[in-house]
Amino acid sequence: MPTTAAPTLTVRVLLFASYADTLGFDAVDLSFEAPATVGDVLARLRALPGGERLPPRPLCALNLTHVRSDAPLSGGDELAILPPLAGG
């Protein structure tokens, strides 16, 4: 919901496992004024019901690769917020 004429970008956000349960959905498209980072997505998620239970620095993967929260976003990116891993 951009409120200015600044260019916007839309990213696909995926939630998994306990985070999907916590926020009540497993995928959402979110739009931001450019430039935006992974941290901006996390801030948006934290404002949603249940989002306050996300940890301060969750694991994040951008287009199937682990990234830090200062990674910049591009339109069409797929950003996954990953609960603590438990494979193996």
């Binding site: 998994f16 940890p55 199937l64 996954a80 603590p84 494979g87 193996g88």
Partner: protein, 150 residues
């Protein structure tokens, strides 16, 4: 394909990496335990961010095969698993057993650290919980503070 919903077939993984030049084969199997954190586990269910599992496993295998003279096979099972079922299998074959050992260890450690797979444990008391490793965020070691299912 590194993910499967079928039971793991160690023999097929061995066949995929063994060769007459590679005399040393190290493997690791991770199987479902019947207890966790002092509670009795009945069964569990693995889920995954499948496209990233494939991408990250391919990266880990490529790293191992470039650092050591090994051929690596890796498979992780998802879906519902019973006690004793194998959830993950790693095989590393090499002309040098030291490299086979080191590479197989590397792959399982990196998988646990980097590959997006989750498990929900079903306990004997009827509760269900997401299980996670420590250090991945404030949700902490157990998902119990985040989710209480039944």
């Amino acid at each position: 394909m590194y993910l499967t919903e079928l039971p793991l077939d160690l023999g097929a993984l061995l066949d995929s990496v063994q060769s007459p030049e590679r005399g040393g084969v190290a493997c690791f199997l991770g199987t479902v335990r019947n207890h966790h954190g002092g509670r009795e586990v009945l069964r569990l269910e693995y889920s995954a961010y499948a496209p990233m599992v494939e991408a990250e496993c391919a990266r880990i295998v490529a790293e191992a095969e470039s650092r050591w003279q090994v051929a690596v096979a890796l498979r992780h099972r998802i879906g519902r698993l019973e006690i004793g079922d194998a959830a993950v299998a790693v095989v590393a074959a090499s002309a040098h057993r030291d490299e086979a050992f080191v590479a197989s260890r590397y792959v399982i450690e990196e998988l646990k650290r980097r590959v997006p797979i989750w498990k929900r444990e079903v306990y004997a008391d009827g509760t269900v919980e997401w299980v996670g490793l420590a250090g991945s965020g404030a949700a902490g070691q157990r998902g119990s503070s985040v989710v209480n299912a039944a």
